[in-house]
Symmetry: D2
Subunit: 204 residues, 4 copies
C-alpha cells in the first residue's frame, strides 16, 4: 500500500498567503529570495493540483487576521505576535491574508480556524476536522519554514499523524531557516522529507 492512500491523506497548506508569496505582500521582500530559488509558488501549485487529481483532501491552516487591538492586554507577546502588531501584518480584509490565487481553496476543502502563533493545530479545530474525515497523514507545505511549518509538523507527530514535509514548497527568510527545518529538525521528528516531484510520483 502507498504511504499516501488518498482517503487518509491531506495536503496541509500552512499560511500559503500573499503576505509571504506575492509581490505586494508585506513579508514578500523577506521570502522572495528563497521562494524564487526553490520555486515555492510553482511547486505549491503543482502539489495541490496533483493532490486534487489523485483525490486527496486539501486542508488550509491560516494565520489570524488582525483587526486592530488584537494583542491588547496580552501578557506575553512572542516575536511573531509583536511583528504582526507592529508591522500590521495579516490585516483582516487585506491582500496579504488572501490565499495565493494559484492554490486557492475550493468547496469541500478543510478550512481550519485561524491560528495565533505558529502551529496550525494549536487552539484550532484542525485535528478535529481531519479526524472527522478519517485523515491520518498530513503532507505539509507553505510558510514559514522554521516557524509555522516546523511547529505544525511537530504537533502533527505528537497528535499521532504521519507527517511529511515538502521541502521545495515552503519558503523562509534565510537559508539558515530552511536548513534548520529541512536538514536538522524534520529528519529528527518527522516521517518523511520529499520534494514535490518525489511526492507526486508516489501518488496513484
Amino acid at each position: 500500500m502507498s504511504d499516501y492512500p488518498a482517503a487518509e491523506t491531506a495536503v496541509l497548506l500552512v499560511d500559503p498567503l500573499n503576505e509571504f508569496l506575492s509581490d505586494g505582500g508585506k513579508l514578500y521582500p523577506y521570502t522572495e529570495p528563497i521562494a524564487n530559488a526553490v520555486g515555492t509558488v510553482a511547486n505549491l501549485k503543482r502539489l495541490v493540483e496533483g493532490a486534487r487529481t489523485a483525490g486527496l483532501t486539501i486542508a488550509y491552516a491560516l494565520h489570524h487576521s488582525n483587526t486592530g487591538g488584537d494583542y491588547d492586554g496580552w501578557n506575553f507577546l512572542n516575536p511573531s505576535h509583536k511583528g504582526a502588531r507592529d508591522l500590521r501584518l495579516f490585516e483582516a480584509g487585506s491582500f496579504g491574508v488572501q490565499v495565493h490565487p494559484d492554490v486557492a481553496p475550493q468547496p469541500g476543502d478543510i478550512m481550519a480556524r485561524e491560528h495565533w502563533t505558529a502551529s496550525g493545530f494549536a487552539g484550532t479545530d484542525l485535528d478535529f476536522l481531519l479526524k472527522q474525515r478519517g485523515i491520518d497523514r498530513v503532507v505539509i507545505a507553505g510558510n514559514r519554514a522554521n516557524t509555522c511549518i516546523d511547529s505544525t509538523g511537530r504537533y502533527a507527530v505528537e497528535l499521532g499523524y504521519h507527517a511529511t514535509l515538502i521541502s521545495d514548497a515552503i519558503a523562509a527568510f534565510s537559508q539558515d531557516e530552511m536548513d534548520a527545518t529541512i536538514n536538522v529538525n524534520w529528519p529528527s521528528f518527522g516521517h518523511a522529507v520529499l520534494t514535490t516531484d518525489q511526492f507526486l510520483g508516489m501518488l496513484g
Copy 2:
C-alpha cells in the same frame, strides 16, 4: 481575598445567542419555558453589567456559524451536529447567531473562536486567550445547561481553572437538563454553583 479577584476572573458566556434566548430564535420555543421561569436573560444582563462595573473580563464562546455543507464528509455527527444541519440552526448571518442584545460584546472582550460541538474550549483559542490575560477563574453562564455549559465547565476544571456556574443565568430544554447540571453534575466536578445575586454580592 475574594474568590473572584477582578484581574483573574472572567465571566464566560457560552452561546448567549438569539437562537436560544430571543423570540424568533429557532430554539427559543424549547428554551422559553425554563428561560422565563428562571429569568435567564434578565440575570445574564445583571451578571454582565455587574461584572463590567467590577472590572472583570467578559469572554464569549460562541457556536460555529453554519454556512452550508459544513458537515459534509464527516464520519461521526453527534446529535447536536445533526440538529444544526437538519434544522439549519446557527446559520451564518442570521438573527440566531447574534449575541442577545442585552449582553452584547464590547471592545476589549475576549471573543474565542467558534466551537463545533459543546465545549467552548475544545478546538478553540479560549484557553490561550484567557491565559494571555492572566485569567484563572471562569464564571460560566449561557446555553444550554447540560450540553455546552456542562462541557465547558468540565473542560475548565481539567485545564486547571476555578469554575463557577451561575445557576439562574442559563437555560435548557427541560427541567431534567437543568437539574442534571445544577444539582447532579456541577457539584461533583466544579468549584461553585451560585445565583446571579450570590455572585454579584461577592464582587467588590
Copy 3:
C-alpha cells in the same frame, strides 16, 4: 458495515477499579447499590470478554494513584480532588487502585497515563495511543457515571471519535447520577447508548 469494525473500535474502561467495584474498596459502599442492581461487574466481564473474542482493542484509563502530598500547593482543588485527598482514595499500591480482577489488563492492551480529574483524555496520552492504533470509535464503561464516564465521553466526541455508552456496565453513587448520564446527557452529546447485550449482539 458494522458501526463497530474490530480494527477501528476500542472498548475503553474508565476506572474499573476495586475502589469502586469490590468489597473493601473505599467507594464501594457508595456504588454497591447501583452496581448490584445493574450487574456492573458481570456486565463489564462479558463486555471485555466479548470484545476480546471479536478482536477489538481494550483500553484502560485509570485514575491517578496518590502517593501523599499530591495536591500540595494546588490553587483550585475540585470536589473529587478534595475527596481523594481527604478520604485517601486511590492510594498508590493499595487494593483500591488495582483493576477489578474480572477485567484485568492483558499484554497488548492500551494503558493510558493516569488522569487527575474526570476525563480519561485530559492531560493524558489516550488520544495519541488510540490514534497510533487507528481507533476512531470508543465504547465506554466503568466508573463513575456522571463524572469520569460522562467527561470521557464528552472529550471523545470533541476529539472526533464515535462515542458509545454501555449503560449497564457503569455504576454511580445514586440513581440520579445514572439518569443524568444515561437518559439526559449522553443522548444529547454522544452517538449511542447500548446495553452490554445490545453491543455484543452487534459484533461479528
Copy 4:
C-alpha cells in the same frame, strides 16, 4: 517587576537524564562533545540550585520509560520512537532513565507524566500542574536541543506561557542542532535566550 517572579516561574527540566548526560548513558557518546564544550551538567546544577534558593518551582518533564513492546501495533513511528525501540533507550528501571544526580528531584517539585515523543506538554499533565501552581513562565533546559527542548518551548508559547531557553544548560548531537534551536528557532518563537549566568543574575 522582574521577568521571573518566583511565585510564577518554573525551571522546566526536559529529559535531564543519565541517558544523555552521564558516562554509561546510551546516548552520552553522542551528546558528550557538546555537553563538555558548553558545560551542560555544571550549568544545569547551578541553574537548579540558584532557582531553588530563589524560591522558584522546579518541574521535570521526562521521557517515557520503555518496558518492551511499547510501540507494538503503532501506525506511525517517528525517528525517535524507532531509535528508542531499536537501541533500547530509556529502559524502565535502567541507569539511563534516572535523572542526573546533580539535578535530582526533591519533594514538592512538579513531576509531569512521561512524554512519548518530544514535547513535555503533549499528552501529559504538565500544563495542568503548572496552572495549579499559578506558573505562567517557564525556563527550559535539558535535552536534546532541537527535539525535546525546541518542541517543549514551542508548546509553551502556544499555551500562553513566557518561554525562556537556557542556552548553555542544554546539549545535542551536533553543533548544527544547537544552532538551529539557539540561533535560528527560539529567537523566532520564544521570549528569551539566556545563559545560566544571565538568568541567575536576573533572580532576586
